[in-house]
Amino acid sequence: MSNKDEKSDLDLRGSGEALGGSGEQELSSGERAEASALRDSLETGSVDAMASLLTAALRPGELDDAVHEQILAAALGLTVQSAVVPSSVALAAEAPADQKEQLAADALRAALDAQRVDHPLVTLAHALKNADAPRPIDDIKNEALLRPALKLPSRRNSRRVAFGATLGALALAAGFVGLYVSSPGLFSAPQAAPAAMVAPPPADLFVPGMVEVRSTTELFQAEDFPRTGGATRRIDRISTARQADLRQNRFAEWGLP
């Protein structure tokens, strides 16, 4: 025991002798306050150095299991990750929660129920679970991870590519056919082709009164068409002219004047 402790003991004995000798009137107000504080702390179980010494001597408590494990592990030379658990933590395990803590506990419960990994304590819980009893990886997931590494095309992707290419080719072909049917002039020689170069229809198909095959050049000799641009108007004019020609030819074929 240190000199200071010895002095405290002496002072305490002195107080006791004085109390026993002349009664409570000799207590000062400061002493009363200290005595009151000591009584309160003993009753509420809060830790006071002197009270702890006296309690430990008179009523030694049980050694906390966690503390014992720590001491034992240290003695056996095992790895210990943290210092001894303070007994105050053990006492606080069931202490009432304030509103903030209750809210945090509710949030944790909700996050655990929803398996939300954005909650840090849920992340920790998952880490514990995954270290203690890791689940196997799903076969499909494993395959999805493996294929890119091996650079093997997946069947689904291959199908998608093939389907897309086929569909694209069909759409392109249909577009060309449609365009050709609706406006065959677009695929003929440029409009500057001279009329003399256009082949006459076969003689057996020719009916008197029919409009002869002709170039579209003559349709655009009017000065209102610019040299460039105006494609829509040009197509409209060709279409109108060809429709008129077709109508005329059908009438001629049927023998109508």
């Binding site: 990750q81 920790l124 203690d132 990886i137 076969d139 890119p148 091996l150 093997l152």
Partner: protein, 258 residues
């Protein structure tokens, strides 16, 4: 060990389908439970290799030789057999999160494909080499993210050193698997032992055993609402302990402070 299908027409050409997975799973169970040795050529005509199956040493050596010469089908067979083991016993316990562990497995596959030409056959088989590759990937992730718990980079560095020295190389993949998983469980136990016994019990029952909170509350002798608070305190306390040791995620200060 059970014989395994090898000559696989598998993957790129035949693709992948859930039905195939189910068939393979069924065949796996049958082959393991009844100990039927299936002829490779016969089974290969029906299904692809089963993830998680082990190879006979001679067959594995032949596969490795083919893979080393650039045969991706052979390498795919090896990785299909051992990848799930790496995930479950090496990556997931050390990295803690499914998503991170899956990223690590993908990275492991990529690195194996890239460097398999450097692999030299050993009598202990290819798994120890694959395990070291996976450990190195996990170590890189632990060092870069600094948010995983329980395992610290030094733990993995020590494991890699030990494996590099070839101390206890064995051909038994299951032994590696068991050792790795036991090491992870020991980490969990050590971490939980630092807690108040009530906290440890709350975490064991609710998190590790995944028992309903009502049951756990009853077992601890508290109301369900009080149990929620106890579990919150327990996990917060564990997080603080791990943070002190420099291992825990540091994302949410408020949680650790509560």
């Amino acid at each position: 060990m059970t014989a395994v299908p090898l000559e696989s027409p598998f993957p790129g050409e035949l693709g992948f389908a859930p039905v195939g997975v189910a068939i393979r799973a069924l065949l796996t169970r049958l082959s393991m439970a009844v100990s039927v040795s299936v002829q490779p050529a016969t089974l290969a005509a029906i299904v692809r290799p089963v993830a998680g199956l082990r190879f006979e040493p001679g067959v594995e050596q032949e596969l490795c030789a083919r893979a080393k010469s650039g045969d991706r089908v052979a390498l795919g067979s090896i990785l299909r057999a051992y990848g799930p083991i790496l995930y479950r016993s090496v990556l997931l316990p050390r990295l803690g999160s499914d998503a991170v562990a899956q990223d690590a497995l993908a990275e492991t596959y990529a690195r194996v494909v890239e460097r398999f030409d450097q692999y030299e056959w050993q009598d202990c088989g290819v798994y120890p080499w694959l395990r070291v590759v996976a450990l190195r990937i996990a170590l890189d992730i632990l060092r870069s993210k600094k948010r995983e718990m329980l395992f610290e980079p030094d733990d993995l560095a020590r494991e890699i050193d030990k494996a590099d020295k070839g101390g206890k190389a064995t051909i038994d993949v299951e032994l590696y698997e068991a050792r790795d998983m036991e090491a992870a469980r020991a980490k969990v136990d050590a971490a939980l032992k630092t807690l108040n016994p009530r906290y440890e019990r709350a975490i064991r029952l609710r998190v590790l055993e995944e028992r309903p909170r009502e049951d756990v509350a009853r077992e601890l002798g508290v109301s369900v609402a009080t149990f929620d608070v106890v579990l919150h305190r327990a996990l917060s306390s564990l997080k603080k302990t791990l943070q002190k040791a420099g291992l825990a995620p540091v994302g949410d200060k408020s949680e650790s402070a509560s």
